[in-house]
Every structure is written in C-alpha cells, then in structure tokens.
C-alpha cells in the first residue's frame, strides 16, 4: 500500500514536467494548427477568427507552386536520403578500421552537424558564389566558373551537397555504433570458411546493421522533407523556373513554401492547411518506409 503510493508519486513526479512541456509545445499547437486550417485566421492577435470550412484546403490544392514544392521536396528527400546514407556508411566503415587518429576523424566528420543550418547556408553560399568560381577560373574549369546556385538543377544539387555535409557525420555515428555490434566471431568464422571481404560485408555486416538502416533512412527522409533553414539561407527559393505554365521559385521546398504562404503572402490559414496536408503525407511516407525497412532486419 505504502510502497505503491510512493511508486505512483515517483512515476507522476517524473512524468508531469515532461508531459506538461510535451502537451504545451506539441499537442496544443498541433491541435490549434488543425483548427486554424479551417478558419480565416490571420495570425494578428486580437483579430476575429471565423470558420470557413475547406476553403483553405481547396486553395492549397489549386496552388501550382505548392505542387511544384511538393514534387521538388520528394525528389530532394530521395536524393539526400541516398547520398547521406551512402556517404555516412562509407565514413563509418572508414573510421571503424584500424586507423591512427580515428577518433579525430570521427569528431571531424561529426562537427558540421553542430553548426546551425542558417549559418551553414550562408557559409556555403559564400563558397558556391565566391570561392568555387575563383577556383574554377584558376583551373580553367568552365563548369565551376559560374556559381553553383545560378541555375535550378545546380542549386538543387548544391542543397543536397550541403545537407549531406551537415548530416552525414551524425548518421555516421549511428552506423559506427551498429558496426561495432556486429559479432566478431561471425566475421571470423566466415573468413575461415573462405568468404571474401565483400561477401562478409554483404551477407553478414549488412543484415546485422539493418536496424541502423531503418533508423538512418527514417531520420534522413523525415529531416529532408522538413528541410527549411539551409534552404532559406542558401538559396531562398532562387533561381526561378517554370512549372505547369507558371513561374515558380525553383528551389522552394515545401516547408519554405508553407512559411512563405503563411508569413510572406500573409495567408496564415492557408499556410496552416498546407502544413496539415504536409503532415498527412509525411505520416504515410514514414509509415511505409518504417514497415518496409523493418522487414529487412534480422534478430540474433
């Protein structure tokens, strides 16, 4: 009796602060956001809020620019997911070898992840606009002489490069942890049986680190979908391009499109409706991804 009361007290004592924070900064804004998406909310405090039904959703679904952003974001998420995971796995394999200074390498690859996305965007903007063209002129390489941000496909590539640079180190850490948990005896047994390095990697290491793939693919996919800060500071949507007969910002990812709708065009409610659509799409994508990846995992 006494003991269980005390247990309960401890339970709630620890839970309450986190639960409070979680409810206040996630549940409440989320619910309010969904509510606002059905109203003419302007975001200005004190103005009246009226219910308008599905008007915002209709407007969002008729917006060419929003569709372009969605397609672009899907492409971007796919590209950066593949690139980041390949690079991260490569780095992880590299720094789990018997290298001198490997801890320094690990730290070095991880450090970009500690720099904020906005700062990073501005630094890379400088590299792409000023540093690389100079290098290009020096070496006489034509493709480097104009900024990587000057045309839409190249600016897209630039976004992938920067997010890879920022994020690969973090994902690398996950792969390192997984690689270190691959039992030595399995690899040794396979080696004695005559398996080549590639065969050991393909048939032992990869299945053993499958849970890390699940987590990493999920993290990179979701983070790429949500990409905002580097997008704003690196390209801010430029350069423009044409899509379905309309001129649109060529590198405006969906989070930035939502931001611009809400804060630049000042249609808060429609921005909110777009955010709800975005959320639903993201839920579906993530659930599919997680369930597919889960099937590939093996348990010891």
């Amino acid at each position: 009796m006494h003991k269980s009361t005390q247990d309960r007290l401890v339970f709630w004592g620890f839970l309450t602060p986190t639960l409070f924070a979680f409810v206040m900064i996630i549940i409440v804004p989320f619910a309010l956001g969904v509510y606002y998406s059905f109203t003419n909310w302007t975001g200005a405090s004190g103005a009246s809020i009226d219910f308008v039904g599905l008007r915002n959703f209709r407007a969002a679904l008729q917006d060419t620019r929003f569709f372009y952003s969605f397609g672009l974001t899907a492409l971007y998420a796919l590209a950066s997911m593949v690139v980041i995971n390949l690079v991260a796995l490569g780095l992880a394999l590299l720094v789990t070898q018997d290298l001198k200074l490997r801890n320094i390498y690990r730290a070095g690859f991880f450090v970009p992840n500690l720099i904020g996305g906005l700062v990073l965007g501005y630094i890379w903007q400088f590299i792409f606009n000023s540093a690389l063209p100079q290098v290009g002129k020096f070496l006489g390489w034509k493709f480097l002489q104009t900024s990587l941000l000057a045309t839409t496909p190249r600016a897209f590539a630039a976004l992938v490069i920067v997010s890879c640079w920022q994020y690969a180190g973090y994902i690398m850490m996950i792969y390192i942890a997984a690689l270190q948990n691959v039992p030595r005896e399995l690899l040794e047994a396979a080696a004695i049986d005559g398996a080549t390095g590639w065969q050991r990697f393909r048939h032992i290491t990869v299945p053993m680190i499958a849970p890390a793939f699940t987590v990493s693919v999920f993290l990179t996919l979701v983070n790429s979908f949500k990409m905002f800060d580097t997008n704003v500071s690196l390209t801010n949507g430029a350069p423009v391009t044409e899509f379905a007969g309309k001129t649109v910002f060529g590198t405006e990812l969906v989070a930035m499109n939502i931001y611009n709708t809400a804060f630049a065009i000042n249609d808060m409610a429609q921005g909110q409706a777009k955010a709800v659509i975005f959320f639903l799409v993201l839920v579906v994508v993530s659930l599919i991804q997680v369930s597919v990846s889960k099937k590939r995992e093996v348990e010891l």
């Binding site: 302007t42 200005a44 405090s45 979701v222 423009v240 429609q270």
Partner: protein
C-alpha cells in the same frame, strides 16, 4: 511486435513534432506586463542599419525625460512582418512598431493609435502622410527615401556621358551602350548592378515604375490590383518590359539570381559597374566601402513621357503607436522628440543618414544621394510609391519578382505580359 509498436510510436511522435513547428503559438491577449510601466517603451525597429544611431538617440531621450526606450532591431534579411507577429504574442508588445504601408496597416488596424493631433503633423507634406485609418493619421513618417539608378560620376565622365541629360528611355539606352562599348578600358564588369535574387528590388522597386509612371497612378494601381487592367493591351507595359530587358541585358546576367544586396552594392562601390539600381539607403554601405566618387540619381526611364524623367520618392515606413500599450503618451513623446527637437534632427540627418519628411529641419545632409533626392523633389520630378500598397501580402516579392527573373532568362515578351496579367487577377481573388 513490441519493437514495431515502439518504432511506430516513435515515428508518430517525431512527426507530430514536425508539424508543431508549423503551428501557431497559442494566441492570447496578454496585457503588456513590463516592469516600470509608463517608464519604458519598446520600439521594434525595421532598419538594422540605423540601430546604433537610434540607440544613441534613445539614450539622450532617457537622460532628458527619464523614459527608457528599448530599441529592438530586426536584423538583415529578417522578415519584419513575421517577426512583428511574434513580438506581439511575446507578452511584451512593442509600443512603437513599424508599418510599411497600407498593406501592413490592414493587418494591424486594430492596434494603431490616432496621431492626428500631434505637433509634428503640420510639418509634413500631406502627400507623405499616406497612412490613414478612417481619415485619422496613424503613421509617423520615419524618413523619405528615393531610388533609381545611382551613377558613378567618375565613370560617366570618363565615358563622356552626362547624367543630367538622361531623361528618356532612349537617353538611358544610349548611355548604357556608350558605357558598354568602353567596358574594358573603364575596368567594368557590367554597366549596371542589378539583382533578381533580392526579390524586393525587381518585385517592389522596378515594378513600381510600371504602376507609377503614368497619369493618375493611384487609380491605376487600385485597378491593377483589383484585376481590372488588361496588361497585354497597355502600351506602358511594353515600355516597362523594354526597361526591364535593358537593365537585365546590361547587368551581370548569368549571376542575377545569385547576387545579393551586399554583392550588388559592392560591385558598384568598387567601381565594377557604372550604375546601381538601388536607393539612397545604400549610402551607409558605400561609406563602409570608403567610396569617394561623386554620385547621384538618374531616373529609371521607361519611355519619353515626363514621368520617365522622375524618380520614385516615398515614405518606406511609418512608426505606429500601439494603442493598447499603457505607454501611449510616452511613445508619442518620443516621436515628437525625433521630429521637433534639434537632437532628433541631428539623429535623422547626421547619424541615421535619412532624408527627413519634416519641413522644420534646417540641417543639410552631407550625403550626395540625399541631396540628389532633394533636388528631384524640388524640381517636382518625383513618382509615388505604389508598391507599398501590396507589401502586406508581399505580392511584389512573391509573385512579381519571379516573373521578372524569368523574363530575364527567356526574354519572351508575350509570356511576360501574360504572367503579369494573371498574377494581378490571381491577387485580386486572393481570400481575406
């Protein structure tokens, strides 16, 4: 199974986090609860470049009156409109905030105090008191500003071009061609320093020429924004397209969407271009670059009309007083301090390098761009600022700028006019 549940749960939680970021904060009408109420006012400043000067003025104001003025500035590249919403929700609403024009006033009309009976009102040219709500003056003109093509006198002299004589499109085109032919010997990268990356430059400033360089621009802009103008059959639209093409063709065309404000101003300041499509606010930046050449404005001339020889001059931003603040009187006093005292005049002219809207200011600016604007003003060669009518929804930056950038790439006149036409019609049907 359990693991899968956990993974799914974790996924859902993270996703929820995703959207929460997009969600608005829980709104509320908290009263301003600052300590020392009545003794401290918060001014939320738009122009980061006058931050230091404004803080200096605030310190002197505090010495004289005991009212503390806290200046918060919205840093470079900061989105003032978005930030103001956050400030208003922060629990300590600013007492003085900036409205950039009627578009912003529409958003904040329930917050602004009546300033009609303030002493400074009689010192301002009525044309520049444009910010009104139901006939009441609600905006204090922070400064007047003008823009056009800033020229580098040294380069123009060497090329044999007289800026005073540029009054029509053909004059401007001729000047561009003359300079372009001597680019090598003058050490220029391009004739004009332009950008489409900074979307406010094409979307607000360049496009304003189309709206303002005509008879009765107010009516025209209203019609245009209401979707009642057939852009394709408007001869001035073709003149405007010609001007845009001229600007783009004679600038660093390949990098137009890469050049940011700093790069644009630096190219002019270091003598790499002869002209700069900007306004008198660049003077501070040019001073940092230790520019010593003479300069002034030539108009963005789009045809042969008298309007082509004029430069747009207007009030870029107004201070509004938050009427729900307990410090309304203190805030009004600070505005009077700026407009009606010598210390305030000194601040405007010598410290913030602004061109004051007030007639009682006796000080003369040393800034050549301010002087040039005053000269245009005195000759009556000014255009109105029509673009402030659509900054509330950022129509220029979000809708017009990409169209101009695209025109710079493909030069397709028909599509350009058609896109402008569609953009206006779309704007007119936008909800709210």
């Amino acid at each position: 199974m359990k693991q899968r549940m956990l993974a799914t749960l974790a996924a859902s939680v993270m996703l929820l986090g995703t959207l929460a970021g997009c969600g608005g904060s829980a709104g509320g009408n908290q009263n301003t609860g600052g300590t020392d109420a009545g003794k401290e006012i918060v001014l939320f400043n738009l122009k980061v470049e006058i931050d230091q000067a404004l803080k200096g003025l605030a310190a002197d104001f505090e010495k004289e009156t005991g009212i503390k003025v806290t200046v918060k500035s919205c840093g470079g590249g900061c989105d003032y409109g978005a930030q103001l919403k956050a400030e208003m929700e922060s629990g300590r609403e600013p007492d003085i905030f900036v409205l950039e024009g009627p578009g912003n006033l529409e958003v904040w009309k329930h917050k602004v105090a009546d300033l009609s009976n303030e002493p400074w009102v009689s010192e301002v040219n009525p044309d520049l008191l444009g910010l009104k709500l139901d006939g009441k003056i609600v905006g204090f003109p922070v400064a007047i500003e003008g823009y056009g093509l800033i020229y580098n006198k040294e380069i123009l002299d060497k090329a044999g071009v007289d800026p005073e004589k540029i009054r029509t499109y053909s004059d401007l085109e001729q000047a561009f061609k003359t300079i372009d032919a001597k680019k090598e010997e003058l050490g220029l990268d391009a004739v004009v320093s332009y950008t489409t990356k900074e979307t406010w430059v094409p979307g607000n400033h360049t496009f304003n020429i189309y709206l303002a360089a005509r008879d009765n621009p107010d009516q025209f802009t209203e019609d245009f924004l209401a979707g009642k103008v057939d852009v394709k059959s408007d001869p001035i639209a073709k003149d405007f397209a010609r001007l845009v093409k001229l600007l783009i063709d004679y600038s660093d065309k390949e990098n137009l969407e890469v050049i940011d404000y700093n790069a644009q101003v630096a190219a002019f300041g270091t003598g790499k271009t002869a002209f700069l499509h900007q306004g008198n606010w660049v003077f501070g930046n040019l001073k940092d670059l230790q520019v010593d050449f003479e300069m002034g404005f030539v108009p963005l001339a789009l045809n042969d009309s008298k309007y082509a020889a004029a430069i747009p001059v207007g009030v870029p931003s107004y201070y509004a007083v938050n009427k729900d603040s307990p410090n309304v009187e203190a805030a009004k006093e600070f505005l009077n301090y700026i407009a009606m005292t010598e210390r305030g005049h000194k601040y405007m002219i010598e410290e913030a390098f602004m061109v004051p809207a007030f007639k009682n200011v006796k000080l003369q600016p040393t800034d050549p761009l301010a002087k040039s604007i005053m000269k245009y003003n005195a000759e009556g060669r000014t255009l109105t600022w029509q673009f402030t009518k659509y900054t509330g929804k950022n129509f220029g930056m979000q809708k017009i700028a990409p169209i101009i950038a695209q025109y710079g790439k493909d030069g397709d006149l028909e599509k350009f006019l058609d896109s402008l036409d569609k953009a206006a019609k779309e704007y007119s049907t936008m909800t709210q």
